[in-house]
């Protein structure tokens, strides 16, 4: 049975030299039962510490941890019904693949016959059935990863934890295993928590993404929501490639309506949320995917630096009038060359306004969609 994971003001402090480092700062988080949740963030944000506390490998400094209704804060890892796939794969080098996958069952006391059956079934699913009698070092990196997966799900745990398991694999293998991990999750009745610094993994695999920043939870949302409605410049920058473009603009009132001015543009944003920031400089965020060559409702001229073709679309790195970089994504690069000056544009529903502290204040997609919806009703 999959179980919900809930943390209550979970905190972890380390003593480093003569100061205290806070790895996790009173985290309140609920991971729904049976969901695939990814914890993402750059290195040093505390994501692995959080996972290791869930596993019981690290003791929280304070706070509580619950699996379902059960308080497991003080339980040993042995007593938590979990599996874990480690960053360095962690296969027992002296055991065969069969023994590696079956070790948890052996400890549980599952009889030999049933154990063999379950190990073989797992190996079948992971396409390593013909590798069972080999030692791990005779396998390729991808096969080793599959053995680690097999060992994690063969005991049918309530919770499976992944600690950056693919960081050492090449891109092709990663893409392949991403699909397999998801298929496994569908097959199992388990809550999955997957830690990664790779936002692509977070976006492609998860039901929910938890973005961590310096030990705090920055945002918890499904991948698409995270992409379209980041709640801070931090998330907008970290999630999605290339990173969101930020244009510093002045926020002023024009006939009582908050208006963004800068880069030769004048954008009216009729939102009360902006009023406290009138007279300040705010960040206008636009995703490179929503910035199109040739224009839109609002336009600015940029100079092309580098074009990265990715097959069906290309990422274009350019310089905007104030000398800062700006990126956009386009599927038509026949007419543009490095050194050219082109006009790029976006529409009002593509913009996000971030306040001076990096917090998202207005999402164009919500403001202007609902505005047009209201108009239609009228």
């Amino acid at each position: 049975m999959a179980k919900e994971i809930r943390t209550e003001r979970l905190r972890k402090e380390y003593d480093a030299d003569d100061r205290t480092v806070v790895a996790n700062d009173d985290i309140d988080l609920t991971i729904e039962e049976g969901e695939f949740t990814t914890i993402v963030g750059p290195s040093g944000c505390g994501k692995t510490t959080l996972l290791r506390m869930i596993a019981g490998l690290q003791e929280p400094t304070s706070g509580r941890l619950y699996f379902g209704d059960e308080d497991v804060t003080d339980e040993r890892p042995q007593d938590r019904d979990i599996s874990m796939v480690f960053q360095n794969i962690a296969l027992y080098p002296h055991m065969t693949v069969r023994e590696n996958i079956g070790y948890a069952l052996k400890i549980e006391g599952v009889p030999n016959e049933e154990r063999a059956e379950r190990v073989e079934e797992a190996a079948e699913i992971l396409q390593i059935a013909d590798q069972l009698e080999k030692k791990p070092d005779a396998l390729s990196g991808g096969q080793q990863q599959r053995v680690a997966l097999g060992a994690a799900f063969v005991k049918e745990p309530e919770i499976i934890l992944f600690d950056e398991p693919m960081s050492d694999l090449d891109a092709k293998l990663r893409a392949e295993l991403r699909v397999e991990v998801q298929q496994l999750h569908k097959r199992l009745d388990a809550t999955v928590v997957y830690v990664t610094h790779d936002q692509t993994e977070a976006m492609t695999m998860s039901d929910t993404v938890v973005t961590l920043r310096e030990g705090h939870v920055e945002q918890v949302a499904p991948p698409t929501e995270l992409f379209d409605f980041p709640n801070s410049t931090y998330v907008a920058e970290f999630i999605g490639t290339p990173a969101t473009n930020f244009l510093p603009v002045d926020l002023q009132l024009t006939d009582g309506t908050p208006t963004l001015r800068g880069f030769g543009m004048e954008i009216e944003v009729p939102s009360e949320e902006l009023e406290p920031h009138v007279g300040e400089t705010v960040d206008l965020g636009v995703r490179p995917q929503y910035l199109s060559a040739g224009g839109g409702s609002f336009e600015l001229d940029v100079t092309i630096d580098v074009i990265e073709p990715l097959g069906t679309e290309s990422v274009v790195h350019a310089t905007r009038p104030d000398g800062e970089p700006i990126d956009f994504v386009t599927d038509d690069i026949a007419e543009i060359f490095p050194g050219d000056t082109v006009t790029v544009g976006f529409d009002e529903e593509d913009l996000i306004v971030f306040g001076p502290n990096g917090e998202a204040v207005v999402y164009g997609a919500r403001l202007f969609d609902s505005a047009s919806a209201t108009q239609q009703i009228n």
Binding site: F86, Q87, H94
Partner: protein, 290 residues
């Protein structure tokens, strides 16, 4: 100038001939080294397997034995206490192997996996204590064992040898355990294994080469020790082989008997060197890397 000549020679001599010369020189050096070790051993065997008195008959030693005889060994086993010495040596050696290896495993594991106050000082003191030779500690050991009433016992000898040996063994096992990733143990805990079971199922099997190496060091220390055995053991009934051999030499038992005891002493180390070469090399490698 010399370099120029060497270059000229190198240029003049064909590659194949040069290779042959290099090979021949290499083998010559190896042969010389072997002779240095082998000749004394050969003399030992020669004397041990000659009939009594044959070695010095007519005043000259035959390099090629005229006859082979087990007379000396028969005499050794029937007329001396060599069997008792052998038994004592085995008891002491096995004792040292078990005790020293166990201590090395436990201490090495603790040094690898646990942080504690004074760990750095402790590890330095391990190295430092290894620098003292046995003779420095001989008298303190004597006083210690006398106080404890342990003099003239194999147990005391085992304790003393383990103490002398432990710095090296602990260091070896520490370095070896450091090569076992903690995540292997963590995975075992998560899979339900207790700390002890994870050590038994995962850490010890992976560290087996290190354990075998520590056991070989312990064997060598136990089997070959002379000094401490002579100090601790006073009753000839308790003597180990090296002390017994010295006793035989001291009495006028004859060189043949002395050499046949030596042969007896040499057999186990020889077998170990033969079958556990790999682990001896490993000990050397760990020593270098650590």
């Amino acid at each position: 100038m010399i370099a120029a000549v060497a270059d000229a020679v190198t240029d003049a001599v064909p590659q194949r001939t040069l290779g042959r010369v290099q090979r021949t020189l290499t083998y010559l050096v190896i042969l010389l080294m072997c002779l240095l070790t082998a000749v004394p051993l050969y003399v030992m065997l020669l004397v041990a397997f000659q009939p009594t008195g044959a070695v010095f008959s007519g005043g000259d030693l035959h390099i090629i034995p005229q006859t082979i005889s087990f007379e000396n060994f028969t005499e050794l086993l029937t007329e001396t206490d060599a069997l008792t010495y052998t038994y004592n040596s085995i008891v002491v050696t096995v004792g040292v192997m078990v005790l020293a290896t166990t201590i090395a495993c436990i201490s090495g594991y603790i040094l690898t996996r646990f942080e504690f106050r004074g760990k750095a000082a402790f590890s330095r003191s391990i190295l430092l204590s290894y620098m003292f030779s046995g003779i420095v500690l001989a008298v303190p050991f004597y006083i210690l064992f006398q106080t404890l009433g342990l003099l003239n016992s194999h147990f005391a000898l085992v304790l003393g040898l383990t103490a002398l040996l432990s710095p090296l063994n602990i260091w070896l096992m520490w370095q070896y355990f450091e090569t076992v990733p903690i995540s292997l143990e963590e995975r075992a805990w998560i899979e339900g294994a207790s700390r002890w079971r994870a050590v038994r199922d995962v850490v010890l099997p992976i560290a087996r080469p290190g354990i075998v190496t520590a056991a070989i060091f312990s064997f060598s220390a136990g089997w070959n020790n002379f000094l401490l055995a002579q100090i601790v053991l006073s009753d000839s009934e308790m003597y180990t082989l090296p002390v017994g051999a010295a006793l035989l030499l001291g009495r006028d038992a004859g060189w043949e008997t002395a050499m046949s005891v030596s042969v007896l002493i040499c057999i186990p180390p020889f077998l170990i060197a033969l079958f556990f070469q790999r682990y001896l090399m490993l000990g050397i490698n760990i020593g270098e890397s650590g």
